[in-house]
Symmetry: C2
Subunit: 332 residues, 2 copies
């Protein structure tokens, strides 16, 4: 990989566009698959207003509307960044990307939240390197092709399955990816125990997300400031911290859990704008929520290990029941 890496961004939304832009800025060749904003981006590129990186217009090297169109010229990509939502309860996420994957050397970079997101890709692409990423970015699409971005663009990642992490080819992959990110001014952290980072993020997403929806559309600040909701989020977080400690083989925190959670709450409460969990945004927009990978997969892990997570199980059931009513899928 001495020449510019070739990237395909699967999902040109608020997350994908920011990192695609930075990678191109850093010298990579970047193609993007867009869906709802395809025409806007094809005609005008992305208009990005970023606090961290400044304002800019990002014209991808290619803009495609489908996964197969992205390889219509037999293009082989070095990296495919999967930036779509993971909704395995609706469609296998690996099947969506499959038409773009022509070569077993193509690195599948999974920029998705949740636990167990890798299993779908591992099964479909047993030979491709898989790089799960914990994404930190504060961006949203204000209108089709217009992205507003704050101060954070950071990726934490590693090779899926640590027994492969010392493999020379895999090391080269991570070095190349890091080089491309740093060249675009994206914070890059290569992790050995990347599952721990994923679980840490899930401790937030799998608690604030479901509670914000099932409590009746509360944002994170409202939940923190209501004593009953605050305690409920804490109860759920404690279940996940205990679970994460066992699963990742590393303590989530050296602090007492309640103190650690207080820190999370304090940080969240002090964000300039009240945080609206993406699960609530999806629910409000009548879009399917990522409850499978963010809530159900952790519960399944707990059940396999014989660890009780009654609060999480209750939240999950209610979330799915609410979604059924909301999306009308309870009517046959």
């Amino acid at each position: 990989m001495t020449k510019a890496s070739k990237y395909l961004i699967f999902g040109g939304g608020a997350v994908g566009s920011v990192f695609a832009w930075r990678l191109q800025k850093g010298g990579a060749n970047v193609s993007v698959i867009c869906r709802s904003n395809y025409e806007a981006v094809r005609d005008n590129g992305f208009k990005i207003n970023s606090v961290k990186h400044g304002p800019g217009v990002f014209i991808p090297d290619n803009v495609y509307s489908t996964a197969s169109e992205a390889v219509s010229n037999n293009q082989v990509y070095d990296f495919i960044l999967v930036c779509s939502k993971s909704l395995p309860n609706i469609v296998n996420p690996a099947e969506l990307v499959a038409p773009s994957v022509l070569n077993k050397k193509t690195v599948l970079v999974l920029m998705q939240n949740g636990i167990g997101i890798e299993q779908y890709f591992e099964e479909k692409f047993p030979q491709n390197p898989i790089v799960p990423v914990t994404v930190y970015v504060d961006s949203f699409q204000t209108e089709l092709g217009h992205i507003s971005h704050g101060n954070t663009s950071k990726l934490e990642y590693g090779i899926y399955k640590s027994e492969h992490a010392d493999n020379e080819y895999n090391k080269l992959i991570l070095e190349q990816f890091e080089h491309d990110l740093l060249a675009g001014d994206v914070e890059s952290v290569i992790l050995k125990n990347l599952q721990r980072a994923r679980w840490s993020k899930v401790i937030w997403n799998a608690t604030f997300g479901p509670v914000s929806v099932v409590a009746g559309k509360y944002n994170a600040r409202e939940l923190i400031r209501d004593p009953l909701a605050n305690q409920l989020v804490r109860n759920a977080m404690k279940e996940l911290i205990e679970l994460s400690d066992v699963v990742t083989g590393e303590k989530t925190t050296e602090l007492p859990p309640d103190e650690y959670i207080s820190g999370i709450m304090h940080f969240t409460d002090n964000r300039k704008n009240a945080v609206v969990p993406s699960m609530l945004v999806d629910f409000q927009n009548k879009r399917p929520m990522e409850h499978q990978v963010i809530v159900k997969n952790p519960i399944d892990v707990a059940n396999k290990l014989g660890i009780k997570v009654p609060v999480m199980e209750t939240l999950y059931a209610l979330l799915v029941l609410l979604e059924k009513k909301s999306l009308g899928s309870d009517k046959e």
Copy 2:
């Protein structure tokens, strides 16, 4: 009490009106305090259409609009049937009734659901006999003063605090009440362990009620037939069965809990019309729900005993949070 007993019915709604009617039919003197339907009942009485007791018009001996009006002639009642909802989180239920209680011999018959309903009356009226009742009646008000009633009119009751149960005066009270009920063709069961009956009813009310609301307005049949909801209701019921066994000192059932619960589900599912829990009816009509006595008081009992009820705690928190949004009480 050789002459006709004097009854005051506090709350002439769907529950109070049916039993008031039957008591008068049996020969008692019956006055009723009405609120929303006061004018309709004062002018025309109750029109009752009952499967069990036939059609009828019930003209109370007196109709009042307030608790103090009911004693404006210094009337002393033998029995006051408290048929209003118990909402101690909003107003002390005993304070509402207090203006009608002129004598410490007046029996306070608490026809209210939930756990710990007696404490408010015991504190306010330390000398009056208290008779908690578990009510079984399938009636509703179709329009002001019009009551539709099915096949069930049954009361299970006893003297609050079993150390008083053998007291001669208390025995006479129960005999008189039973006599008056039977004369009106109401099924009457005097219980020694009346808390066990109350808890049995709470096992239904405190699970189907909250879940029907927080899952997004499902009726009981929908909950039973959805595997996730079914399991959630079961999880909650198991917590309460374990708790009830400890609190009442008597097993809820000789069956394995899962089998017992299956029986409840089967019975509920096979009711002619899908059961809409009263908590959901209240929520849909933006009326306060009885979550304090039906959900919170049992949780408080569990906490005192060191018994974990995480599912019930989660449901309770969500119920209160939803109510806040629904009634707008989260806005200051």
